[in-house]
């Protein structure tokens, strides 16, 4: 209904409307600069200080700073900037450089004299004759050591091994680093004369230098055993702080983790004895980029200059303890007096730029798999790297051919028309009238239905659609059933290879079946134990047994990952203490699968236990009495009364549990990580890897998800039919 509005009011409304429309235009005109970063703690403090200083000096320019959590950062940049909603300037690492360029997210910045930066860092940001960002800080691996254990740091790798061998004892390691991770292996690769790229193409891992670096890794971990395998960052810190690691290879961030009472010192990485070359780590950079959507306005240029100034760099060095890129600051007495910063500056002379080629995103994971097998001695470097090469080739293979959208649209239309026809025929004559007569009821559920449609229906349909596309560079390309053909055709690996879809599917089914069997079995046993009313402290036991379920499963998964650690885990310690030899849990399919299974059984049995306990309590006690009078012993009472009466209550839980387990991402992804060689991956972790760890093959991942969806749909349809059949049999 329209309210009568007086002429005076009209004018006021019109004025408000015009100003509202004018506001955005005005904001664009003003000198506002938006800056994104993902710094935290001291680094964020240093940045804030620099921005505050800039605001004081340039009151006419408004600066808006947004701190974005690191995990979501690249993704957020990728989506925001093309829509014009992103920052003008942003600070990000340099490993996405080429990706940013290819997606046209960044433009070469201006307004700063780059001679203030170390030329090596400028070079790392220069591509196609342009410098694509300003280096703010850099990070490189160096050698930390405990002064109470190591007198003089090793100059060569032979020294390193000799010192480490002397300091290695039960539960103590001479030299600790995250040996399975490519970033930490790179210094050896370069030290042995290897390279990642030869011009534009990815270097095969099989070069003699690469193999020599693999041999060196094998020596450290498998032959000399001075370096533990499979250690995570937090464990490195703990070992060092407790005096169980004499030397550690780590980055500058490690300093903040060292305990106050540990006498530490830092040295450059040693020279590789075989080649005489220094072990050269990657230099990873914090870079100030200019968004491609931002105009090189005076404000943007002024802020770029201020943030990269020597004064700001000195603040970063002092407050954030960051090794900064400005040459002048590197020689500042404060920096030179700081043990860590001075050593970073020294190490910088022997670094390699972080590879920024998109194909590297595909290479990391196969490379990591290879390193893991080498460090455990399960494969020779030659064989492990050969496998990795093959894997990278498969991952980087050309996308499916573009398909004709028209044919598919026609087919989809036909399917929709046929589907509607069938639905209409099935619909009884009165259905529409029925709907109309209960209009109020439908109106009541409409908001919920709309919510479901928006939150579940639309994303689902988008996912279905995405399965028919493939992502290439910056745009989607229609490939029809190409993704499905590639998945189901298993064209790259034989179906028996751990890398094939069918192997993963069989593993997933095995995983699901064995989990559910153990969940139900253990849950049943515990429920029976907890059932008797005379048991004292039943309530306490019940709560204790439900606890594993109440703890977020990724935390449990990480704890179990630690428990299963080959050298340092509690489970092997227990095995050794009772006279068994330690098990390398993630070397073989069976132990790795068993580790995953143990974790998920721990997580899953409480749910079944609670369900079964409820069902048990619903069985009248006099049935058991009647059975006793009828002469049934305990086993007969269990099989003839307990089982058949608990069974029906258990079916929904089993169906639900099956679907949960089938898609139990966290456990597989965090505990075994698919090791060995992806053999313990399940379908959903594979889908994840395609989407987020293999250059964003979203279409392929969506197709994978659709296949998973189809399998689960089939499963629930089968169960439903089975149950309906049983119910019908019971009714007759």
């Amino acid at each position: 209904m329209w309210l009568p509005i007086s002429a005076a009011r009209w004018r006021r409304w019109a004025f408000l409307l015009v100003t509202a429309l004018a506001l955005p235009a005005k904001a664009e005109d003003s000198q506002e600069v938006v800056l994104w970063h993902s710094y935290r703690a001291g680094e964020a403090e240093a940045l804030d200080a620099a921005v505050d200083g800039f605001r004081r000096d340039n009151p006419e320019i408004r600066v808006r700073v947004l701190q974005v959590p690191y995990g979501a950062y690249p993704q957020k940049l990728r989506t925001a900037i093309p829509q014009g909603a992103g920052p003008d300037l942003f600070i990000a690492p340099n490993d996405h450089l080429r990706d940013f360029i290819e997606r046209e997210l960044i433009a070469p910045p201006s307004g700063v004299d780059v001679t203030r930066f170390d030329p090596r860092l400028n070079a790392a940001l220069t591509l196609k004759d342009a410098q694509w960002g300003y280096p703010l800080a850099y990070k490189a691996l160096v050698l930390f050591y405990r002064k109470d254990m190591v007198e003089a740091p090793p100059a060569t790798t032979d020294d390193l091994i000799a010192i480490a061998r002397r300091l290695t004892a039960a539960g103590r390691y001479g030299f600790v680093y995250q040996a399975g991770i490519p970033y930490y292996h790179a210094p050896w690769l370069f030290g042995f004369g290897g390279r990642f790229f030869d011009g534009e193409t990815l270097l095969p891992f099989e070069s003699p230098a690469a193999i020599a670096s693999g041999d060196f890794l094998r020596r450290l971990t498998f032959e000399e055993k001075v370096t533990p395998v499979d250690v995570q960052g937090a464990l490195v810190t703990e070992l060092f702080n407790r005096g169980r690691a004499a030397m550690v290879m780590n980055g500058p961030w490690f300093v903040s983790e060292i305990a106050a009472d540990v006498p530490w010192a830092v040295a450059p990485l040693p020279v590789v004895s075989e080649t005489g070359l220094a072990a050269r780590p990657f230099a990873s950079l914090d870079v100030l980029y200019r968004s491609a959507k931002a105009s090189p306005s005076p404000g943007v240029r002024a802020l770029s200059d201020a943030l990269t100034s020597d004064a700001a760099a000195l603040t970063r060095a002092k407050v954030g303890r960051q090794p900064v890129a400005n040459v002048a600051v590197m020689h500042d007495p404060i920096v030179e007096g700081d043990q860590l910063l001075a050593m970073q500056a020294r190490q910088l002379a022997a670094t390699e730029p972080l590879p920024t080629e998109p194909v590297m995103q595909l290479a990391w994971h196969p490379y990591e798999s290879a390193l893991r097998q080498i460090q455990r001695g399960t494969k020779s470097p030659e064989a492990a790297f050969r496998e990795a090469t093959k894997r990278v080739q498969v991952l980087a293979r050309p996308l499916p051919k573009e398909a004709s959208l028209r044919n598919y649209v026609l087919a989809a239309l036909v399917a929709v028309v046929v589907g509607l026809g069938v639905a209409l025929r099935r619909m009884r004559r009165g259905t529409l009238a029925e709907v109309r007569s209960s209009g109020t009821a439908y109106a009541f559920i409409a908001p919920a239905a709309l919510g479901m449609l928006l939150l579940v229906g639309v994303p689902f349909l988008m996912g279905v659609g995405l399965g028919f596309f493939e992502y290439e560079g910056t745009q989607l390309r229609f490939v029809g059933l190409g993704n499905f053909a590639s998945i189901l055709g298993s064209s790259d690996y034989s179906p028996l290879s751990p890398m094939s879809f069918y192997f993963t599917m069989v593993v997933t089914v095995l995983w699901t079946v064995s989990n559910i069997a153990l969940h139900v079995g253990l849950g049943f046993a515990l429920a029976l134990l907890l059932q008797p009313t005379w048991l004292r402290g039943r309530g306490i036991f019940r709560v204790l047994l439900i606890l594993p379920w109440a703890i977020p499963n990724y935390i449990t998964a990480l704890i179990f990952k630690g428990l299963f650690n080959t050298q340092l885990g509690a489970i092997n310690a227990l095995l050794v203490s009772v006279g068994f030899s330690p098990v390398s849990w993630f070397d073989g399919f069976v132990p790795a699968f068993a580790a995953n299974l143990t974790t998920n059984v721990w997580l899953g049995f409480p749910f079944m236990m609670v369900t079964i306990l409820g069902a048990l309590q619903a069985i009248p006690a006099d049935l058991y009495e009647a059975a006793r009078v009828d002469g049934a012993g305990p086993w007969r009472r269990f099989t003839s009364i307990t089982l058949p009466l608990v069974g029906p209550a258990l079916v929904p839980s089993v169906v639900l549990g099956t679907i949960w387990t089938f898609n139990m991402f966290n456990v597989v992804f965090l505990v075994s990580e698919g090791q060995p060689e992806g053999a313990t991956e399940i379908l959903v972790t594979e889908a994840y890897r395609w989407a987020f760890m293999r250059n964003g093959r979203y279409g392929y991942a969506a197709a994978y998800s659709l296949v998973i969806f189809a399998i689960l749909l089939l499963y629930s349809a089968l169960t439903k039919r089975l149950l309906a059949g049983r119910a019908a049999a019971e009714a007759t």
Partner: protein
């Protein structure tokens, strides 16, 4: 077939004694009804006979064999539960066959006996149904079938009819009586319903607070209750209790008087001063009948007409009185009026101890 002997059977839970040293012998083929108010220990006693509960002390013998420590299945008994305790996931056939299947009897024998029992109980057409598809009476019959099929020496019934409606209860009672007559088995039947006890029992054992108050043939309990409790518990409506004092040659109150001569007592002198007269409702007549020596004036409160009889509810002074008269007599009475009732048979109880001193 077997006799049952309970020797000083006691069941205690902590400080609470549920069954207090009961000794009881049941002859082979006898149908004994344990009756009493709730909490008297009758179900506990039955469950000890079944072996579902272990006695705190005492022993239980079935057919001369000490079964005190045997499992229920080894006692050669069958039991019918108040809730029927049918296995809900089994068909009627499977329910009845279960005791035989547990004992691994040959298939053919099981089938034959299940069919025989089904015929006997009229369950033939229900054999493939499940308990939830049966009516209460049918379930009851299945429970009996499950008990009968094994041909046990002893049947135990734990309030088997209390979940049924009145008409069905009467019919099932008749069926149980018939079953007893046909099988000739020893049976113990627990109920809180004295009517059921009266109609079914060879012998009634009346329990109160964990001990036997009185036992005997139904009519004996009814006519010669040994205590005021027994007199009150048996019979419905309950026995009228009229407090009286001993006078020189009569027991009297302001409303009633019974001459010493009518009581035919040998020990008048030993009677205490305070007594209670127990008069069954059906012992009353309207006073215009000849031949009833004792009289009672009653203020009529209301008249309950059941069709065949009329129950007169009223008060003699402060004492409530219920009298059964014929339907025709009931027609002549009016609420609010006064009627003089006459009676001949009565019991006399000591007011303090509740012990009966005379029945006449």
């Amino acid at each position: 077939m077997a006799s049952i002997d309970l020797k000083t059977v006691t069941k205690r839970y902590g400080d609470v004694t549920i069954v207090d040293g009961i000794s009881l012998s049941i002859a082979d083929g006898e149908l004994v009804v344990l009756v009493g108010p709730s909490g008297c220990g009758k179900s506990t006693l039955l469950r000890m006979v079944a072996g579902l509960l272990a006695p705190t002390s005492g022993s239980i013998h079935i057919g001369g064999r000490d079964v005190t420590h045997l499992a229920p299945g080894d006692r050669d008994i069958a039991m019918v539960f108040q809730s029927y305790a049918l296995y809900p996931h089994m068909t009627v056939r499977e329910n009845i066959a279960f005791p035989l299947a547990v004992r691994r009897r040959p298939r053919a024998e099981i089938d034959g006996r299940v069919n025989d029992v089904a015929d006997m109980l009229g369950l033939r057409h229900l054999l493939d149904r499940r308990p939830r598809d049966l009516s209460g009476g049918q379930r009851q019959r299945v429970a009996m079938g499950r008990a009968v099929v094994r041909e046990p020496a002893v049947f135990l019934f734990d309030e088997p009819l209390s979940n049924l409606d009145a008409a069905l209860r009467t019919r099932m009672r008749a069926e149980i009586a018939e079953l007893h007559a046909r099988l000739g088995a020893t049976m113990i039947y627990v109920t809180h319903d004295q009517h059921e006890a009266m109609t079914l029992a060879d012998r009634i054992v009346l329990l109160d607070k964990g001990h036997i108050e009185q036992q005997g043939a139904p009519l004996e309990l009814y006519q010669r209750p040994r205590t005021q409790f027994a007199g009150e518990f048996m019979g419905s409506p309950s026995m009228n209790l009229l407090p009286v004092d001993k006078r020189n040659d009569a027991l009297a109150s302001p409303h009633v008087r019974v001459d010493r001569g009518a009581l035919r007592l040998t020990t008048w002198e030993q009677l205490p001063e305070q007594l209670v007269l127990g008069v069954r409702p059906e012992a009353f007549r309207l006073a215009d009948h000849a031949g009833a020596p004792h009289r009672l004036d009653v203020q009529v409160a209301w008249i309950e007409r059941t069709g065949s009889d009329s129950f007169v509810h009223g008060k003699a002074g402060e004492t409530p009185v219920v009298a059964r008269v014929s339907a025709a007599e009931g027609e002549r009475l009016q609420a609010g009026g006064t009627v003089t009732l006459a009676f001949e048979t009565l019991s006399v109880f000591e007011r303090d101890s509740g012990q009966a001193v005379a029945h006449c």
